[in-house]
């Protein structure tokens, strides 16, 4: 699962939903732990794996407007909870 949301709170909610289950307990994934590997498209791992020209054309401009460090922190927390489960 690769996310592109710009707000750290949204990223955390989506990452949590596809790993541990819907944190708001309002949707069909409430209490359902899918445990999917989840990344944000701006994370260094994604950048390293992709074609640099494609990344530059498709992502870099949007990335400038994002609080990437906070986004990465949130998505890594969600991923970490799955990896240790």
């Amino acid at each position: 699962m690769i996310l592109g949301a710009a707000e750290p709170d949204y990223v955390e909610m989506m990452a949590e939903t596809v790993t541990a289950g819907d944190p708001t307990y309002t949707g069909p994934l409430a209490g359902v732990s899918l445990g999917l590997p989840v990344y944000h498209v701006t994370e260094p791992e994604m950048k390293a794996l992709s074609d640099p020209a494609v990344y530059r054309d498709q992502i870099e401009l949007s990335e400038l407007a994002m609080e990437t460090e906070r986004i990465w922190e949130r998505v890594r927390q969600a991923r970490g909870r799955t990896e240790t489960a």
């Binding site: 690769i2 791992e45 494609v54």
Partner: protein, 42 residues
């Protein structure tokens, strides 16, 4: 982490990176994109 040969779901956002862009990046890394969709948190 390795994306080559993996199946990917791309969830974009209207005000962030859109799913089409995520899919292009994933494909350039050798992944197969199963689903692209955009969300809007307004």
């Amino acid at each position: 982490m390795e994306l080559r040969g993996k199946k990917v779901i791309a969830i974009g956002e209207r005000d962030g990176v859109q799913a089409t862009a995520i899919a292009e990046v994933a494909k350039s890394a050798g992944a197969e994109v199963l689903l692209e969709l955009n969300q809007c948190f307004v």
